[in-house]
Each structure stands twice: as C-alpha cells, then as structure tokens.
C-alpha cells in the first residue's frame, strides 16, 4: 500500500474560521473537523470499479460501490429514525379519497390519489379521509389521516355510490377524489349523477389552486380551481412520501342500501394464452439464451402465464412479433416478469419498467437483467426449465390426489 494521499485543499479548509462572510483561515489554530468537498482519487475509483473474478479487466463504471467507499468517513451516520408521525386532531375540513384497493391493497394509482388528496388537504389544514378498507399501516404510509370502509361487499357499484353520497351529506368534505380507472371512474360518474354535482373527470395536473383536464380529443385544456368532485388520471400526481399519518378509524352510521339491478356477478379469470401482452398479469419471456423452445412453451402453459420474447428471438422467427417485449415491441403492465436467457438491453428493459417483480435466469452474472431482478438465478435456462416443469407436475399430481374426494375441487386442481 502506498502512503496516504495528501489533500492540501481539505487540509487548508480545516483551518477555516467559521462565521466570516469572506473565507478566513487561521493556520496557527488546531485544525477543526473535515470540511468541504471530498477529494476524488481516480486511482481508488478505478480499483473499486474493477469487477473481481474475471480474467480480463472489467470495470463497473456505475460506481455504486465506489461512490460509497469515497464518501468522507468523518461524516456522522444519519440517525435512522423512522418516518415522522403527523397527527391532525382538529382538521379544518376533510378531503375524501376513494381508492380502488382491489383485494384490500393499494395500487400505485391509489397511492398517487392519496398523494393528491394530501396536497389538497395540507394546503388548508385539512385531513385526508380514505373511503376504503386496506391494512392500516399501508394507509398510514400512503398519507391517510382517517379511514372509513364502505359497507358494500361484492360487485354493487350503485350501492357504493349511495354509501358515498351518504358520507358526503353527513361529513364536512371539501373535495372527493377518485382514480380515473375503470372502477373508480364508474363510481365517480354514478356519484355525480346521484348528487347532481359537476364532475371534473381525468385531471392531469393538480395543485391546491388549479386542476387541468384534456377535452375535445386532447385539443383543449380545461382549467379551474379544484371542484368538489374530481377524478385523477394515472401518473399525474406524486404519491405521498416522508411522513406517517394516523389512519384513524371513523365511525359513521350508513343508511340501509337498497339492492341494485345486478342479479348476479361472477369473476372470470383471464385466459393467459389469449390476453394481449400489454394487459397480461404474468409474462414469461424467452431471450437469445433459450434453445429449447418446446420446454419454454410447456413452462408458459404450466405457469399460466403469457409468453413474451426479446427482439433477437422475434427477429429469428422463433416467436411471433406480437410477443416482443421492449421499446419497439410491447410495454408491459404485468405484475411479474420472468426472463429466461435475456441479457436486458436498455431497449428491452424499457418494456419491463412498469413490472413490479422480475425473476431472471441467465448464465451471465453481470447481465443487466440479473441486476434488475428481484430473484436472479445464474444458471443454464435449458436445465432450469425441465426442473421447473417436473416440480410443477409433481405439485399438480399432489393436489389431484389431495382433492380426489370432491369432484368439483378436483376439476379446479386440474385447472390451477
């Protein structure tokens, strides 16, 4: 190891006299703590950027590790306190947000809705009232001060709208925000028709003083002060972050709700092989590292997923063009993306940007896809696919013998 590198600038800045308008240095005094910018050491950066374990020199210029190592050591570590809890005991008014919360979990759009509600509430000392059931800690993090679940089960949007109307009449609510999603948009319009209030649909920008929405086929923009009832387009407002809120349960006596005209409702899960790629929930995708396409197709079917591919594979004619994922193919909205033998070129990763979970199998530890993945397996995909298939077949056989008693559940097990 060489001798420690001198840094004359920081040595000098350690003698700086605090509080003077012009920089003054008292070289006679004992040096104070570290000051100023850390000096760059290009050699150390180079050393840290080297990827170990390869015969050829390989540099990781993203400098994730290096940036950490070069940080001035003298800076005290920030105290790792949890987010601050903000309580609003006496709100001036309420801003109601009605998230979709499918299955009791907030979607990203729901979080943005709560962020927008926070913005309107914080502008005047109000509190955010969330009108849906979801885990309290999730709502607290998303910025909810009060929570009130609507007493409607199953699919009955008219009853939900009537429950909302009752809440609007009973509490001091200045704004009601709904997401401009299939379900939220429907509910907002029902509520507008019920109460006779104007609806500001699909707001694209929102501040406490003005909201805008597109009209006339995106030729004109309508703008006004935030009205009482508005729906928010996706990706238009930032989600709340930083502080925790109370998410206190509120008591409210709902009037009895009459039954609607919908006699029955059954959910039919999507058929993954027919779903367009852009709408698919779970995509299993093949790249240039896949040679065994028979196993790949079997795996896609066994996992009940929608098949995708990288551009190389589509160019080679091994998969249809409609299956291409990426900038020049389809941009996915999937919850989970399972990449087999895909390097993860930027053009490909753009198509996966909105996926919540990524699983990757690749032989190259340094592939960008491995870095992007929540679970990455460095292995040969041709060996992993048969192992997955046999494990899935085992599970299916298990489930079948387990449920052999009831005819109906057996049919389900074969389905699943």
């Amino acid at each position: 190891m060489s001798r420690l590198r001198r840094d004359p600038r920081s040595e000098r800045s350690r003698h700086r006299v605090e509080g003077a308008a012009r920089p003054r240095f008292d070289l006679a005094a004992a040096p104070s703590g570290l000051h100023g910018r850390a000096r760059r050491d290009p050699r150390a950066e180079f050393r840290l950027a080297q990827v170990p374990g390869t015969a050829r020199l390989r540099l990781d210029r993203t400098q994730r590790v290096a940036a950490l190592d070069l940080a001035p050591a003298a800076r005290a570590p920030e105290p790792q306190a949890g987010p601050r809890l903000v309580a609003i005991p006496e709100p001036a008014f309420l801003v109601a947000a009605v998230p979709d919360a499918p299955g009791g979990r907030l979607t990203p759009h729901d979080r943005q809705l709560l962020g927008a509600a926070r913005l309107l509430a914080d502008a005047g000392g109000g509190a955010v009232l969330v009108l849906a059931g979801a885990p309290a800690d999730e709502l607290a993090r998303a910025g909810a001060d009060r929570v009130l679940a609507l007493p409607v089960t199953g699919y009955d949007p008219e009853a939900r709208a009537m429950a909302l109307q009752a809440v609007l009449a009973g509490l001091d609510i200045r704004h009601v925000l709904l997401p401009e999603s299939p379900e939220g948009g429907d509910l907002a319009r029902r509520l507008a028709a019920l109460t006779g209030e104007p609806l500001f649909a699909g707001a694209e920008s929102l501040t406490a003083r003005a909201v805008t929405r597109p009209a006339a086929g995106r030729r004109t923009e309508q703008r006004m002060v935030p009205p009482r009832l508005l729906t928010l387009a996706a990706d238009a407002a930032a989600a709340h972050a930083g502080t925790l809120h109370e998410a206190l349960e509120v008591a409210f006596a709902f009037p009895p709700l009459p039954p609607g005209a919908i006699l029955s409702a059954d959910d039919v899960p999507a058929d993954p092989s027919r779903v367009p790629l852009a709408e698919a929930d779970f995509v299993v995708s093949a790249g240039n590292g896949i040679t065994d396409f028979a196993s790949f197709h079997d795996l896609v079917e066994a996992l009940h997923a929608t098949p995708g591919a990288s551009r190389v594979v589509c160019d080679a004619g091994l998969m249809p063009r409609a299956a291409q994922v990426g900038a020049s193919g389809t941009v996915l909205e999937a919850r989970c993306y399972f990449a087999l033998g895909i390097a993860g070129a930027p053009q490909h990763l753009q198509g996966v940007a909105r996926c919540e979970h990524v699983v990757a199998v690749n032989t190259d530890l340094h592939a960008a896809m491995i870095e992007r993945a929540g679970l990455a397996v460095v292995a040969d995909a041709q060996k992993v696919m048969p192992a997955l298939l046999s494990l899935l077949a085992e599970k299916a056989a298990d489930a079948e013998t387990h449920d052999a008693g009831a005819g109906e559940s057996e049919a389900e097990a074969v389905d699943a």
Binding site: D186, A201, E221, R223, V275, V361
Partner: protein
C-alpha cells in the same frame, strides 16, 4: 323464439384523435355490433346540430337513426331523455366516453339517472339471459379478466373497446339506412367557471431519483423498478433453482395453487 328486443344506441359526434376531423366513435360502432349480435331491433339516437358523419353509423350495420336537431350550445341530455321516454327501449347502449366534446363520460350516467335505469359499465359481450327480460353482460376488467353479470332489463350498458370489432363500413348499407330528423329540446348549458385554452401535454411522473442526475442514471431510473437489489443465486443445482423460483412466484401471488 322471443320477440326481438328494442335497443337504442347513443351516437355522439366524434372527432378523430389525430386529424381532428369529424368521424364516428369506434366504440359506438362496436355497440352497434353488440346489439346486432343480440338480434335486436336497433335504433341509433343522436342529439346535436346537423352533421354529415353521424349517418356514417348506418354503414356499420344500423338500420334506423333518429337525429334530434338542437343547437350547438344546447345540452343533448333533455332531448335524449324525451326521445328515450317515447322509444321504450329495453336496452340502451352507449360508449364509455365521447371523443371530441366535453369527453367526461357523464352523459350515460345522467341519462340513466333521469330514466331510472341501472348502468352497467364496460360490456365486451352481451347475451340474452335465462329468464325473460334479463341480460347476461360480460364486463371487461383490467388485465384481460372478465366479469359475468346478470342484469334485469331495462338497463343502460356502456361498451368497452375490448368488444368485438365493428362491421366494416359499407356504402350501400349507409344509403339503405333511414335517418329520421326531429326537433330536439333546446336547453342551453349552464355556465361553469372553466377556463379553456389550447392543450399542453403534461409530463408524466417518472422516478424521483432522476432529477438532476446524469443521463446514465436517468436511463437507469426509467428502466429500473424502485425496489432494486434482489437476491442472486449463483450456480445452484437446477432443482434448487426451480424450488426457489416457484416459492418466489408463490410469495408474489402470481402462481395459483
């Protein structure tokens, strides 16, 4: 065989999203297709000023169109309520939002409220129900899922773009179709404190970390999920890899069973 159902389709004066020229709204043409698939007696309903393109709907398989003439500044709601009151339709079909007007999608709901009809949104297929005056509606949900609903008629159903594609335009059908012109009810729209100006596209939200970072970091933020830093298994035996992957997929909840 039952009596053919009486179905009204609401048609709006659409504008093409790119060229801005008047044209039919695709989802309303799909509504005509859904009504035809029911074997229904169909009537198109449009309330608005005179327009060339409204009659184009006849070319997509509609036999009869009632055009309620109102002024440019009039609200079509009152005319439509009056017309549907006399038509006695068992089913009213509409698109979800217009294309070129206010585009708020509120009209079907306000109409249904005034006529006391239930609204069923986002239909992608329609079938006659098992009992008389019921309707089976297949509702399109996000991510390709569907919901089967049984509804008591009369009802108002809005149509989703996932419905079957409309019949192609046929000029002969357009010539054959009948347009009935009636006077609508003049009801000027109330004033709203809305300022209108030319549309300005708003930037979509992108990852926060991108602000002020280098180009490489911005690309990373655009292509990377917020939750980085996953688990890496290096050279596991295939069986172990398979077990880990399936366990992970099950944790996420994408794997059923």
């Amino acid at each position: 065989m039952r009596e053919p159902m009486n179905v009204a389709v609401l048609l709006s004066a659409g504008h093409h999203p790119v060229s801005g020229r008047a044209c039919p709204v695709p989802v309303e043409m799909q509504a005509i297709g859904l009504g035809n698939a029911l074997g229904a007696e169909m009537t198109g309903l449009h309330a608005g000023p005179a327009s060339e393109t409204i009659a184009d709907a006849l070319g997509h398989g509609l036999a009869r169109l009632v055009h309620l003439k109102i002024g440019e500044a009039d609200d079509p709601l009152a005319s439509l309520i009056a017309a549907l009151g006399t038509e006695k339709s068992a089913l009213v079909l509409a698109g979800r939002v217009g294309q070129g007007g206010e585009d708020s999608g509120l009209l079907p709901y306000a109409l249904a409220r005034a006529l006391g009809l239930p609204v069923v949104p986002d239909a992608s297929a329609l079938r006659e129900g098992p009992e008389p005056s019921t309707l089976l509606v297949e509702q399109a949900l996000p991510r390709g899922a569907r919901r089967r609903l049984m509804v008591r008629l009369p009802a108002l159903v809005t149509v989703h773009p996932a419905a079957p594609a409309p019949l192609p335009f046929a000029y002969a059908a357009r010539r054959r179709g009948v347009v009935e012109e009636r006077a609508g009810i003049a009801s000027p729209r109330g004033e709203r404190a809305i300022e209108e100006r030319a549309y300005r596209p708003r930037p979509k939200l992108i990852a926060k970390s991108a602000a002020g970072a280098s180009a490489a970091e911005r690309l990373k933020a655009a292509t990377e999920a917020a939750s980085g830093g996953g688990r890496v298994l290096v050279d596991p035996p295939p069986e172990e890899a398979a077990r880990e992957i399936l366990a992970h997929l099950r944790d996420i909840g994408v794997l059923r069973g």
